[in-house]
């Protein structure tokens, strides 16, 4: 019995584990992943087929040390429409490991989904024939880095993989008096719905800041940023009542060369749902085992009482012993002087004597 239970248990666990190790066609969410997903989209890279999608790669801004530039990509191709879901990586080599921008000494300041991840997920909506993504990154050392865009998507029950041509970016030292963002400037990437947002810009060698912002698909608006303290400038982004994103960039002017920053993305979204997964899993298992134990204990309690009652309950046996079956009456009536109770107990002796007397 226990052997069968053990086999059933092991088979169940093995089958359940298989669902964790296979592909995740629904995606895994944005994150920082190496090219082979780190176990993300496609479980086994040997099963991948080459995607026919076209991947273009573009850089915006001058790659000065500690100054942000934008890398944007447009992915197009009919094969994408089979799946709709798409995963896009920004990578610094094609070895499959240690290939994130951080591994190449680049810091991601923002991505087009409102995070700071090198892997973004998106969906190609019906009627669309291309998908765009962008990252704002900055170099932290003087180096030359080759960037790649890699994509993962599905279609016809086959996982597809694609990678762009490399794009070399050489980091330059900062020219004297260059109007620039402060090296520790980190742009705000998200904000709550329904609230205007004051965006701060920390700068160096800057005398005035003009900000251009736009909502996707609309024209560019220009505003002058106000100086709130030395080297800090602020502008107000209008409130958004629905999840959406605006893009903004600053035109920095000073005594030295002026500079236009890359586009930064500011996403208005509902706060993401967060929960302590360990607590959830422990509580789930606790509910399971408690329900099991509670019902079993109740059943055992009431069944046990019944067993004990039966153990000491002897009434039926006593009654059976104390009331023997009455023998049949001779000629259908009691012998003279007999009561029914006497007949029940001693009638068989009377019949025996009667039988012996007749012989």
């Amino acid at each position: 019995m226990f052997r069968r239970i053990r086999i059933l248990f092991v088979v169940t666990i093995l089958l359940s584990l298989s669902s964790f190790t296979q592909a995740n066609p629904g995606g895994v969410g944005d994150g920082v992943f190496d090219m082979q997903c780190g176990g993300a989209c496609h479980g086994d890279s040997s099963l991948n087929q080459t995607s026919s999608a076209t991947i273009s790669l573009q850089v915006e801004g001058s790659p000065y040390l500690d100054q942000p530039i934008a890398i944007s990509t447009v992915i197009s191709g009919t094969q994408l429409s089979y799946s709709g879901d798409l995963g896009v990586f920004l990578l610094t080599d094609t070895t499959g490991h240690s290939d994130t921008p951080a591994d190449g000494q680049w810091e991601i300041l923002s991505d087009s989904n409102g995070g700071v991840n090198n892997y973004l997920e998106g969906k190609l909506l019906s009627g669309q024939d291309n998908f765009s993504a962008s990252w704002t990154i900055k170099p932290t050392v003087l180096t030359t880095t080759t960037f790649y865009i890699s994509i993962h998507h599905g279609g016809d029950d086959i996982p597809y993989f694609g990678i762009s041509q490399g794009l070399d970016i050489e980091v330059l030292p900062i020219p004297d008096n260059l109007a620039r963002l402060s090296s520790d400037f980190t742009p705000q990437t998200t904000r709550p719905l329904g609230e205007t947002t004051t965006v701060s810009i920390e700068t160096e060698d800057v005398l005035s800041v003009k900000v251009e912002w736009k909502v996707e698909g609309s024209s560019i608006n220009t505003i002058i940023a106000n100086s709130s303290s030395e080297g800090v400038w602020e502008f107000i982004a209008p409130a958004s009542n629905q999840p959406s994103s605006i893009q903004w960039r600053a035109i920095l002017e000073g005594e030295g060369p002026s500079q236009t920053t890359p586009w930064f993305t500011l996403v208005a979204q509902e706060p993401p749902f967060e929960v302590d997964e360990t607590a959830v899993y422990i509580q789930s298992f606790a509910l399971f085992i408690f329900a099991l134990g509670f019902i079993l204990s109740l059943q055992l309690k009431f069944s046990k009482n019944k067993t004990e009652e039966k153990q000491w309950e002897q009434t039926e046996e006593v009654l059976q012993d104390s009331s023997p079956t009455a023998p049949p009456l001779p000629d259908g009536q009691l012998p003279p002087g007999w009561t029914m109770e006497q007949w029940q107990w001693y009638g068989h002796e009377y019949l025996q004597e009667l039988k012996e007397g007749a012989q």
Binding site: S16, G26, P272, V280, I282, Q283, F288, I289, I295, Q299
Partner: protein, 190 residues
């Protein structure tokens, strides 16, 4: 190879169908026991069908839970509905397992005595109801609507206990389950 999402749909349909059948049979069995329906054959039939359907549902439930975690977008628990589904399905799984183990190891005597019969009916029907509630939550998550929306159930509110309380509940459950199984299996040293 099929995707986690498709496998989840298959396994949940098996779970919901089995548990719905089991729940209906537990209800009919209780009605027969109270002699509201006087049919001795039905007593036996509902007993067998309820517990076999429950067994089948229990086999399919872990697959539904794990494939659901794999199929959900992002991390496994990206929505309060998914957390509630986890709690509901595991509670239903526990109740169903208890009903099945009771019937299996204690025999049909638990369906003759009134108190044990009521406990058995309660655990079986509660397991079925909770599984159907889980399915309804799944419908609300994936399609934005469900038949049980008429009750305006608060799927987006989760009651998450501190880990310490969960641990106490877990230890209590493990202890009571171990003791109960020990006694039911007749291995008590007393």
């Amino acid at each position: 190879m099929i995707s986690s999402a498709t496998f989840h749909v298959i396994s949940t349909e098996l779970v919901v169908g089995s548990f719905a059948m089991a729940g209906l049979c537990f209800l009919l069995h209780a009605i027969c026991r109270y002699e509201l329906i006087k049919n001795t054959n039905l007593v036996s039939i509902t007993d067998n069908v309820a517990h076999f359907a429950l067994f089948f549902g229990i086999i399919a439930t872990p697959f539904a839970i794990f494939s659901g975690i794999s199929a959900s977008p992002g991390s496994g628990l990206s929505s309060p509905i998914l957390v509630n589904k986890m709690f509901l399905s595991m509670t239903g799984f526990g109740l169903a397992s208890a009903a099945l183990v009771s019937r299996w190891k204690m025999g049909d005597s638990i369906l003759i005595e009134r108190k044990t019969m009521l406990i058995q009916t309660f655990s079986g029907m509660a397991a079925s109801g909770i599984m159907l509630l889980t399915a309804s939550a799944g419908g609300s998550f994936s399609r934005g609507e469900s038949l049980l929306d008429i009750f305006s159930l608060p799927y987006d509110i989760i009651i998450l206990m501190p880990i310490a309380i969960s641990a106490i509940l877990l230890i209590t459950g493990l202890a009571s389950t171990a003791v109960a199984l020990w006694k039911i299996l007749g291995k008590s040293a007393v």
